[in-house]
Structure formats: structure tokens, C-alpha cells
Symmetry: C2
Subunit: 240 residues, 2 copies
DNA sequence: GCACGTTAAATGTTCGACATCTAATGGCCA
DNA sequence: TGGCCATTAGATGTCGAACATTTAACGTGC
């Protein structure tokens, strides 16, 4: 090796809390601690790590806020390994995007644009991979939307479930989490100008999308979702 | 209102730690506490909330793990409000996707697919919105890639910077964070079969993409990135 | 002028006690 | 017999005070 380069031997020393945190996290990610399993009581765990219960609890608190464990007080309570499924990705994105929007660190349209970009492959993949189970669920949602009146408080939720349901039918769980999360994050202003006219048109477009997915026609699905997104954006732009 | 519906007046009572957490978080998100500002010392804060320092510290620990504040020990240290920029979105996604992959809750190809779907609009937008500053940076990266030999340890990093740089040039910070994060998460296996042949071809494709962005030609950019992604996937499939 | 010990102020950790939560237990009473 | 309810036990939650460690700034001596 040249004289100018030097091997790095050292590492930053870790504080007790960090070491406990890392060890438990590693145990969870490696499968050593299985999902749903209960950790030893805090007193016992603290003894094992040879740290105080206070320090141990700070480590557990971090892992809790990262959704790796959940704390349950009371008898038969304890610290349980969370089953970290793909939905936690959506939850984390919702949380962070919400913070960034509140702080003005990102603009609303940046979030909405990314969602729109993801909806296209979402529909295409759904048209290819949808199961009968998916069709049944989507059909049920659209049926509800037909019946819903303009002032129905469930409307935003139905819309979210429709778009999330498509993403889930795509078979890609990362895609599903992102679409669902971004939809959620952009929801607050989605229905500001919901007129009967817009409501009817929206349902009609949903029907077209669902038919394309049912027919397993990705191109028609893409055309339908693009029409829908353009329509929605136009009727939002008038408000925002 | 009908007899079956009932007003909800109550809310779950919050434990002391949760209340402290919510209050500080609200103060940060509302701008009451500005970015970079230092919070009062823990002893003083605990006095204000009328809780013990232990409880206060657990609240601060959660906020720290959510990147809202940072802790600095020592003289002139303290708890500082973090400037939460869009990069923290990427960091959070990297972390969570990494966990999910380790646990087998999502598959590798699901992550890679979403990244590929995002790279197309990323290049299209970059072709439209790139600044001279962006072109300069991307050009510098490609120049490095030309010079890099096959066993250069910087190659994965250069690739990540190229794709992230394009996403940043798109002008959409959410898109940039996602592309960068997903690229990072899929990096470990990106260069398993890097032959001189593949290296040369990759650089050639990068040049084509960059030229399209320079010429502000979205269609050519899309064609170039699609070619690149297909090529990479083919040379990965042989390995994985 | 620079190296280095000292100081001060903050976070980090420890300890032990008590508070609260909650499922299970077991007894009382209709 | 069966259900209601007080008790209990075992876990997390909170408290308070002391001590450890970290780190920038200060001062002192060479």
C-alpha cells in the first residue's frame, strides 16, 4: 500500500445503550429472536447485559419507536418482537412525509407526483397479477362508491382503499406500501371540491380501471389510470 | 343523529412520556422550535413538564431515533432540533427496507422493480429540469467512471451517485430520496459479475443517458435508461 | 505561543424505590 | 352453579438523587 493510505483499525467506541440496542436488533434480524416471541423481563435482560434497567429501557424504547418490538404493560405483559411486515414501510413513509410536509421541507406536489408515477406500473402489474380475491375486494369497494352520497365521510377512505387495493394486487409489496403511504399523505386535500358531478365521473373512471384489470389488459389499464389521474389533478388545481 | 350513532368524547389517556413527546414534536413541527435551536437542559425541561429526568429522556430518545432532535454530550452540548430535510426520508427508507429484507418480509426483486419503475420518470424529469450545475456534477461522475478500473472499490458508489444525481436533477425531492434509497438498498449484489466488458458497456449507456439529459430530450432519455436497466437486469439474473 | 491540566456544564448511567397496569386467581353471593 | 368482583402477582412506567463521562473553554506554565 502507498504511504499516503493507511489502514483503519479503530472504531468509534459504543456507549452501553448503543451496544444493547445493536445486540437486540441483530438478534431480531437474524431470526435468533422470532416474531411474536417475548423477551426476558427488563430486570433479567439488564442483568444479562450488565447494565442498569434505565439504560436497557432506553435501548428498548428506541427499538420500539423503530417498530422492532412492542411493549405491553401489566401482568403477562413484556417486550415482544414485532412481526415487521411490509406495512411498516408504509407507516414509516407516512410518518416521515408528514413531518417533512409540516416543516415545509418538501412540497405537496412532489409527493403527489411520485404517487402518480407509481400508480401507472401499479395498474399495469395488477392487470397481470390480480387474483380473483383481489377482484372481489376491488369490486366491493367500487360498489360502495356507487352507493355513497356526496357527503359520505367514508369517501376518502374508499378512494384510498381502491388505489391501495390495486397496488396490493400488483403483487409487489414495496410498491403497495409506497402507493398506499403516498396516497394517505396526500389525502387531506383530495376532496375539497367534491361535487356530485366529480363524484359520478370518478366512479365511472374507477369502473373503467377495474374492468381493465379484470380483463388483464395492461395497456387499457394504463390509459384508464392516466385519464383518472389527469382528471383528478385538473379538479384539484382549481382548488389549490 | 340516529340512535345507533354516538358521539365520541373520550380519548385514550396519555402516559407522561407520550405527552412530553407529543408536545415537543408539535413544537418542532409548528416551527415554535426552529431548526438548529437548542432545547433547554434536560433538568430544566423536566422541571417545566413536571416529570422526572428519566421520563423526559425517554421522550427525547424517541424523538432522537425519529431524527427530530440530536443529542450532543459534553460542555456546550445539549438537545438540538434537527433540520429535517428530504434526505431523512431516504435514510428512513433505507433503514426500513434493509430490515424487511433481512427478515424476509419482502423480496429483493420487489425493491429493485420499484426502483426501476421510478428511474424512468426520474430521467424524463431530469431532461426537462436539469440545471447546468446538475450537468457539471453528472459529467464529473461519468468522467470518473471512464477512468475507473474494474477493481476500483469506488465503482458501486459512483453508480449510486450517478443515478441519485439524475433523480436530484429531476427537481422532485421525494423522487430523489426514493431512487437513492432503493438504489442503496439493492446495491450489495449489484456488482457481483463486473467484467471489463460489462464495465465498458455500462459507462457507454451512462454516457447516452447523460447526453439525452443534456439535450433535454425526455424520449431519448427514457429509451436510454430502459436499455440500461434491461441490460443490468440481464447481467444480474445470471448471477442471482 | 503552544501544550496541557483544570474546570464547568451538559448528557450518560446507576441504583433503589414506588406507581400503574392488567391477566389470572379465588372467593362471595344470588 | 354461575357470574361478579376484590385480590394478587408480575410486568412495565415513573421517580429522585447520585455519580460517570464527555467536551469546550479557560488558564497556567514553560
Amino acid at each position: 500500500m502507498s504511504a499516503s493510505s493507511s489502514k483503519t483499525i479503530g472504531r468509534a467506541v459504543l456507549r452501553p445503550r448503543e451496544q444493547v440496542e445493536e445486540r437486540i436488533k441483530a438478534a431480531i434480524l437474524s431470526g435468533e429472536l422470532k416474531s411474536g416471541e417475548m423477551l426476558p423481563p427488563e430486570t433479567e435482560l439488564a442483568r444479562q447485559f450488565n447494565v442498569s434497567r434505565t439504560t436497557l429501557r432506553e435501548a428498548l424504547r428506541v427499538l420500539t419507536s423503530q417498530r422492532l418490538i412492542s411493549k405491553v404493560p401489566g401482568a403477562r405483559g413484556g417486550n415482544f418482537v414485532q412481526s415487521v411486515d411490509h406495512e411498516s414501510l408504509g407507516a414509516v413513509v407516512i410518518e416521515t412525509v408528514g413531518n417533512l410536509l409540516a416543516l415545509g421541507s418538501i412540497r405537496f406536489d412532489e409527493v403527489a407526483d411520485v404517487r402518480r408515477h407509481l400508480e401507472v406500473p401499479s395498474v399495469r402489474l395488477a392487470a397481470r397479477n390480480r387474483t380473483d380475491r383481489d377482484l372481489e375486494e376491488l369490486g366491493s369497494i367500487v360498489a360502495h362508491q356507487r352507493r355513497a352520497s356526496i357527503d359520505d365521510p367514508d369517501i376518502p377512505d374508499l378512494d384510498r382503499r381502491f388505489h391501495s387495493g390495486i397496488a396490493r394486487a400488483s403483487g409487489n409489496r414495496v410498491l403497495a406500501s409506497f402507493v398506499s403511504a403516498l396516497h394517505h399523505a396526500t389525502e387531506p386535500v383530495h376532496y375539497l371540491d367534491l361535487s356530485p358531478e366529480v363524484g359520478r365521473e370518478t366512479v365511472k373512471q374507477h369502473v373503467r380501471i377495474l374492468r381493465a384489470i379484470t380483463d388483464q389488459d395492461p395497456d387499457e389499464g394504463e390509459a384508464a389510470i392516466v385519464e383518472h389521474l389527469v382528471y383528478l389533478q385538473k379538479h384539484l388545481a382549481a382548488v389549490v
